[in-house]
Assembly symmetry: C2
Homo-oligomer: 311 residues x 2
């Protein structure tokens, strides 16, 4: 089924304790598209400047990403510069240059308007609704957001959430959005804002999925070599949404597999800088790591005669 | 099979965002004993002052805890005062009064020397070895420790670890002990210090188990009401060791169930202050929550035709 993503395509300059990479491919829509492309085609809406290399457009197109919606404008492409310390769970933004992204006005090519699965990456919630106004009758709309929008455009974000089926946030964002420290209570509050389901991303600790009374806890794959967490959340969302669009199903068991696959693809994405690991990743590697996740978290039922008499 | 614990019995004064409880029952050996007692008898070695109520001794004895090794000395019982903020993962110690615990010299009653399963709670590593010198031929020795011993008595701790099969620590302690931030690398390093297995406790994020090449990731049960995290780690160890001693088996599948049961018992312990929830807990509640943990983390295998041709 058709899958649409709207977000950023960028150049990142990243410092981690393991190295430094200046001006490498990044952006929420880029990571999402590459991750989702393992499961089927992706329709991309984003903007780049006249400095964006054709070779990177070709990389996406070869992966099955429809780049009709990738607009090229005069000026420079969005640039982000960030640093991670040994605690790779937190990015420290050093510089943000929106450049052509400052005037991003997402316009969907006519051929995108029948998209059934929609992912609104972390952009201004006003723009997220502009996108939804252009999609005819999506089956599932998911969105991401961040602390900046939660504090500076809360009312607009709440308007967007009323039109969203599934929200992806991290622990801190969920707590901030709900104004509640306990993550279960925060999730229950957020599910009253509009979304039918919530994915709480917890970095190296995995992810929680909440929908109605259902809770699913996915562990993260413990990685001996984690090089660059940039794009982990968008890769997670890409694996998740790519799988849903591939199967076309939304029942609980499918959602659970989607979350694990999101974690699988994200676990690869962080093994190298930029999208480098996603460029070399194969479906077989995804299959093998999915089986490893299953082995990692499997345990048997309890024995029936466990407790001593009278305890 | 026989299970021995050596540690502290104390009075805690605890402040959390949800309330304040002065002078309530606490201590590592207390939480451990109560948690393990669901699965079978426990032999306790600890010291209390002449202010310790007979009613609390009776509570432990009624739960099947052998209190022959609970020594009463002139003076006051160990007291700890601590505070938790909304981030309930970290305790802030306000006061520690060792009192009679300052001269704790664990002497095992003769009837304890054949103990097969031994848990050395978080005490001076010199004392931990004193205990081991008195146990004839244990099948499994587990120990806990903390940042204080890792920094101030590292050499002694390393001597203890050479005689230990299983170490329980939290994330930060594992990183500090190994001098390595990545948790997988830290675990691999610690497994070269002596222990054959390592449990990394991660509070609300669950636990990781490392042994040889095997890794098991257990999720924590997402609790809407978490009142007092004091004793969570010792309750975890108690559920874990109590189950192992009950089954008498040490194979990987049993270890995994033990970790989940440790998480189950700990998840109850934190629902109320002090040992209050453990006092009312029943085997049926443990069974039901174990099944909920299984449901919480279950996901199916992948479909065979998942990836589009040519991807």
């Amino acid at each position: 089924m058709s899958l649409l993503v709207v977000g950023s395509v960028a150049f990142d300059s990243v410092e981690t304790p393991f190295g430094h990479r200046p001006e490498v491919l990044g952006g929420s829509a880029t990571y999402f598209s590459a991750a989702a492309s393992f499961f089927g085609p992706v329709r991309l809406v984003a903007v780049v400047g006249d400095d964006f290399p054709e070779a990177e457009v070709a990389f996406l197109a070869e992966r099955g990403v429809d780049v009709t919606g990738l607009t090229r404008r005069a000026g420079r492409t969005f640039r982000w510069k960030g640093r991670y310390d040994f605690d790779l769970n937190n990015a420290h933004t050093l510089e943000t240059h929106l450049n052509v992204f400052a005037d991003f006005n997402p316009v969907l090519p006519d051929g995108y308007r029948d998209s059934e699965f929609v992912f609104l990456a972390n952009i201004d919630p006003d723009l997220q609704r502009t996108v939804l106004d252009q999609v005819r009758s999506p089956r599932l709309v998911a969105c991401d957001t961040m602390n900046f929008w939660i504090t500076s455009k809360r009312e607009s974000l709440l308007k967007t959430l009323k039109r969203v089926d599934l929200l992806f946030v991290n622990d801190a964002e969920a707590r901030q959005l709900a104004g509640e420290h306990n993550i279960v209570k925060a999730a229950r509050a957020i599910l009253t804002y509009g979304p039918r389901a919530l994915v709480v991303k917890r970095g190296e600790y995995g992810a929680l999925f909440f929908s109605g009374e259902q809770v699913f806890a996915a562990s993260a794959y413990p990685l001996p070599a984690l090089f660059d967490p940039t794009g982990a959340g968008d890769s997670f969302a890409g694996g998740f949404m790519g799988y849903l669009a591939r199967t076309g199903k939304l029942e609980p068991a499918v959602m659970r597999r989607a979350i694990v696959l999101g974690g699988v693809v994200a676990s690869f994405a962080v093994e190298q800088f930029s999208l480098d690991r996603l460029r070399s990743l194969t479906p077989d590697e995804i299959r093998v790591r999915y089986a490893e996740f299953k082995q990692l978290s499997h345990f048997d039922d309890l024995e029936l005669d466990l407790f001593p008499a009278g305890s």
